[in-house]
């Protein structure tokens, strides 16, 4: 593998700038004449706008413009859209209500924008925003999705009667019902997946720059997919044609899904820049982030898991209600359908599955993909139910899972997915060995002697990464293709630039992607630069989400490297008067096998550009591009084990150990992969123990709108983690890799909750398992 090639723990190339304070994030950008935007936001969860009076604000110091939604409508700026069409089981298309970037008639959640002020300083813009007077007719609000479906509840959109966006199903309902009726045992549960705020540490920001001479727009924005942002802003929001709109996502401080979407604010900054004649920058504060960034999860489900007399699952039936908030965000519709229900087979050989999903409008901010996106919800539901079934059946949790594991591949599940490779037993065994599962009874007894309640729990997850192929996702309703692009440019002196449509916002692409090149050509990674995040540099790309940059983005790079290598071999063979098939590339040189003939990499590159001595008919230069469209999803899987101690006096849970055993296929940089797992687990532990978005059910006010109210995991809440990897290479991409970005958040919540309920002897506990809830459950269980 070499010290910098595939499989090496290479320290990150990008670290130095971040460590020296030289990262360049959107809010760090400054251009001549730049002014600042502040939004006037609705304080009500649901209201009609009677009148907006901006006269006082317009007279405030430093104010350049106060703009409203009616002006935006008049200028032809389009509605925000959801880009994945889902049809209900009756064949009707999903019911999408209109989402204006700035509301001019009705506001539907606390934080909905109603006006924007542009001023000389942030302070002046905020002062003036407070002086905008909005006369509201307050309407009743509903924040709970189950309640929103009931008769007589407030109605959000005329397009969606009963607040129902779609009523969708997958699987064989009749076969599932028959199997449940004939079952030896049925485990039934109600499963609530708590609503979360993604909280990347960098708040969202946008800088819109309109050049009137060129009639051209530039947008710096905190995006995970700047090309999709340009496409959507151009094709649907009518901001500008693509050739007149440049989108740059510079250093981006985390995303976790919440920066996939195109939000009102970046559209407004571009539009306001043209309207007011100055570059306009907006930077969210944390309260605005809680109010307006898309949230995640928020499912309420019932589940029936049926077993035969040998403890084999015969059927799984799921009914889920998903809260979508007040508007349909860009990929929201896909999350509780094709990213959730298609994973309900887990690691198990289930003969029959049926899932019904209802998506519902409420007076809360939009809900969309957050790290894992549907797969954490599926895993939590399955693994809590599997654990509960094991307790009811009197079988060990590991044994019940083993009985039901899929053991031969490829495996077609009853819910679309075709698993290509895996070894679930291997991860289970690795995790149990690392956790010393066998030694748990002794540890529990020792804890009991100190008055502590000790519990252990596992979770066996599967997920699907790199959603593909494009034709298949198109047939399921996706509005975009899910391929990736790459271009490899070898410069005349042999240094290499790789342009990628993937976007790094913490994942370390500048290092991992360079390792591919170093591995292929034996050149130092310092001679390789990764270029991304700018629509003027990279032609097109689909960005980074769904753990796709490895399996899809790097596969595109491999495809381009193949083409570069083929041409480089031809040039080298010509220069050395050798046969192309005898050329080997190693240690930065092209050699003729079995001889001492050799051409250094840089000399071959120079020859490509001087073009003095190329094979007859060959074009000069050395630059190749590729688009890669995968043939299937990839299927990472693993087993997580949590061991906890609960203090019965306080209900406080302490994580004694946390073990992760993951199969991500082949790994390019283990150090970076482990870091992804650590971060994912921390977010999963956050969901299980600490985090939860709460709206007041009557007023729709967000009660958790700051770090004083929403409990982010901190260093003293978490243990160090034990991680290991089992490897079954993915057979469907050239590198054999599967994706690692979301696994930690997918697998960990169920392990935690299984451990805590094991410790306290009461299974009736919802996330987050706060000390108060655990203490109450403990008291109720005794």
């Amino acid at each position: 593998m070499g010290v910098e090639g595939i499989g090496a723990r290479v320290a990150r190339k990008e670290d130095k700038r971040f460590l020296m304070g030289q990262g360049r994030y959107t809010d760090d950008m400054s251009v001549p004449g730049m002014r600042y935007a502040a939004f006037v936001r609705s304080p009500h969860a649901h209201a009609k706008i009677r009148r907006i009076d901006t006269s006082a604000a317009e007279d405030m110091p430093g104010v350049i413009a106060v703009l409203n939604g009616k002006q935006m409508l008049d200028d032809g700026i389009g509605n925000l859209i959801c880009g994945w069409m889902i049809h209900s089981k009756d064949g009707s298309p999903m019911k999408m209500g209109a989402w204006r970037p700035i509301a001019h008639e009705t506001v539907r959640y606390v934080g909905d924008a109603v006006a924007v002020v542009v001023a000389d300083s942030v302070g002046e813009a905020r002062d003036a925003a407070e002086a905008v007077v909005v006369d509201y007719e307050v309407l009743p609000a509903v924040t709970d999705a189950v309640k929103a479906l009931e008769a007589g509840q407030p109605q959000l959109h005329p397009e969606a009667p009963g607040n129902l966006i779609y009523d969708w199903e997958i699987g064989d309902g009749a076969a599932t019902d028959a199997a449940i009726a004939a079952a030896a045992h049925v485990t039934e549960m109600k499963i609530v997946n708590n609503r979360l705020a993604p909280n990347p540490m960098e708040p969202r920001a946008a800088l819109g720059i309109y050049d009137s001479a060129e009639d051209h727009y530039t947008c710096y924005t905190t995006s995970q997919n700047p090309h999709v942002a340009r496409l959507v802003m151009s094709a649907f929001y009518n901001v500008a044609p693509e050739n007149k709109l440049r989108v740059i996502a510079p250093d981006v401080g985390g995303g976790f899904g919440s920066k996939i979407y195109i939000y009102p604010e970046e559209i407004v900054c571009l539009w306001a820049s043209k309207r007011s004649g100055v570059p306009v920058k907006w930077t969210s504060d944390r309260t605005e982030a809680f109010l307006t960034d898309a949230h995640g999860r928020d499912h309420v489900s019932t589940v029936k898991m049926a077993f035969d007399a040998n403890n084999r699952v015969t059927a799984l039936k799921v009914d889920t209600i998903a809260n979508f908030g007040a508007y349909m965000s860009l990929f929201s519709s896909a999350v509780p359908t094709y990213l959730y229900a298609t994973l309900l087979s887990g690691q198990y050989n289930f003969p029959a599955i049926h899932a019904n999903v209802r998506a519902v409008y409420t007076n809360t901010v939009a809900v969309d993909a957050y790290r894992g996106a549907g797969r954490p919800e599926a895993t939590y539901l399955l693994e809590r139910t599997m654990e509960t079934a094991a307790r009811e059946l009197g079988v060990s949790p590991a044994e019940l899972r083993r009985i039901n594991f899929i053991r031969s591949f490829p495996h077609q599940t009853p819910v679309i997915m075709n698993y290509d490779a895996g070894d679930y037993e291997a991860s289970l065994e690795a995790a149990m060995a690392a956790a010393d599962w066998a030694g748990f009874p002794a540890r529990k007894a020792e804890a009991a002697s100190r008055g502590m309640k000790r519990g252990i729990g596992m979770s066996c997850y599967i997920e699907a990464c790199g959603i593909a192929p494009s034709a298949a996702v198109g047939s399921l309703g996706a509005g975009v293709g899910l391929w990736e692009s790459a271009e490899v440019r070898v410069n005349a002196v042999g240094t290499i630039e790789v342009l990628t449509g993937s976007h790094s916002h913490g994942q370390g692409h500048e290092t991992t992607f360079a390792q591919l090149v170093a591995d292929r050509f034996g050149v130092p990674i310092d001679s390789v630069s990764i270029v991304h995040g700018d629509t003027d540099k990279v032609q097109m790309g689909m960005g980074t989400y769904g753990s796709r940059s490895g399996a899809v983005g790097m596969s595109a790079i491999v495809k381009a490297l193949d083409k570069v290598e083929a041409k480089a071999r031809k040039i080298a063979a010509h220069l050395m008067e050798a046969d192309e098939s005898d050329i080997v590339i190693e240690n930065g040189a092209l050699k003729v096998a079995g001889t001492d003939k050799s051409v250094p990499w840089f000399q071959m590159a120079l020859a490509a550009y001087t073009a003095h001595n190329l094979p007859s008919g060959m074009e000069p230069g050395l630059k190749e591009g590729a688009f890669y469209d995968p043939s299937n999803f990839t299927f990472p899987a693993g087993c997580y084990i949590a061991e906890v101690e609960v203090d019965p006096e306080t209900g406080k849970t302490t994580i004694v150990q946390f073990v992760a055993a993951d199969d991500f296929g082949n790994i390019i940089n283990p150090m970076i992969v482990e870091g992804q797992v650590h971060g994912g687990i921390a977010q999963g532990i956050g969901q299980a123990l600490l985090e939860g978005v709460h709206y007041d059910p009557e007023t729709g006010q967000l009660l958790t709108a700051s770090y004083m109210d929403y409990t982010m995991p901190r260093a003293d809440d978490l243990p160090s983690f034990q991680v290991s990897h089992q490897v079954t290479p993915c057979p469907n991409n050239p590198l054999g890799i599967k994706g690692c970005g979301e696994a930690g958040a997918i697998g960990s919540p169920a392990a935690l909750m299984n451990a805590i309920t094991d410790a306290i002897g009461n299974n009736d506990l919802t996330m987050p398992a706060t000390p108060q809830k655990v203490w109450a459950a403990l008291a109720a269980g005794n």
């Binding site: 460590l19 760090d28 960098e202 913490g506």
Partner: protein
């Protein structure tokens, strides 16, 4: 408006600013030192930590005017002549950062922590002392590792210097 003078990263600076200007905005907007970040609005996240007269402070929690006359050290002033400070080097060696946004505050907090505890730092102490710095990417695992590694190296270097 107030005229505020202080020393930042060894250089004397003086700027006119609104009375309500926070130190973090003075550093970012007036001095264009954008390595110090703003991650929240309730003094919880620690992305804005700098050193004031040798002690770690959240620069969002004091006014620029309160720092008049003080010696301020920001993340930009930590490395000497492009050579990473041992804490910065340890963060890199141990993959203690991902998106990099919390990193400047984390590093400044870590340096202060090591200044106070030296090689006596253990995992629990590091985790307790990181309570005011939030990271969403790393799960803290490698940050803790990096700080312990840096403390050990700086302790060893200090012992060598003393010998």
């Amino acid at each position: 408006m107030a005229k505020v003078a202080m020393t930042v990263n060894g250089r004397k600076v003086s700027r006119e600013c609104e009375d309500r200007t926070l130190l973090v905005h003075f550093i970012r907007d007036q001095l264009s030192l954008t390595g110090t970040h703003v991650g929240c609005d309730t003094s919880q996240c620690g992305a804005c930590v700098v050193h004031m007269d040798g002690k770690a402070v959240k620069s969002c929690s004091i006014l620029a005017a309160q720092a008049a006359g003080a010696e301020i050290l920001t993340i930009e002033g930590l490395a000497a002549n492009g050579e990473l400070h041992p804490v910065q080097a340890a963060f890199k060696a141990n993959h203690g950062l991902q998106c990099g946004f919390c990193t400047p505050g984390m590093v400044m907090t870590a340096v202060d922590m090591i200044n106070r505890y030296g090689a006596k730092l253990d995992e629990k102490t590091v985790r307790d002392n990181l309570e005011g710095n939030i990271c969403r990417c790393t799960g803290y695992h490698n940050i803790v590792k990096a700080i312990l590694a840096a403390a050990e190296e700086m302790g060893a270097a200090g012992r060598q210097a003393a010998e």
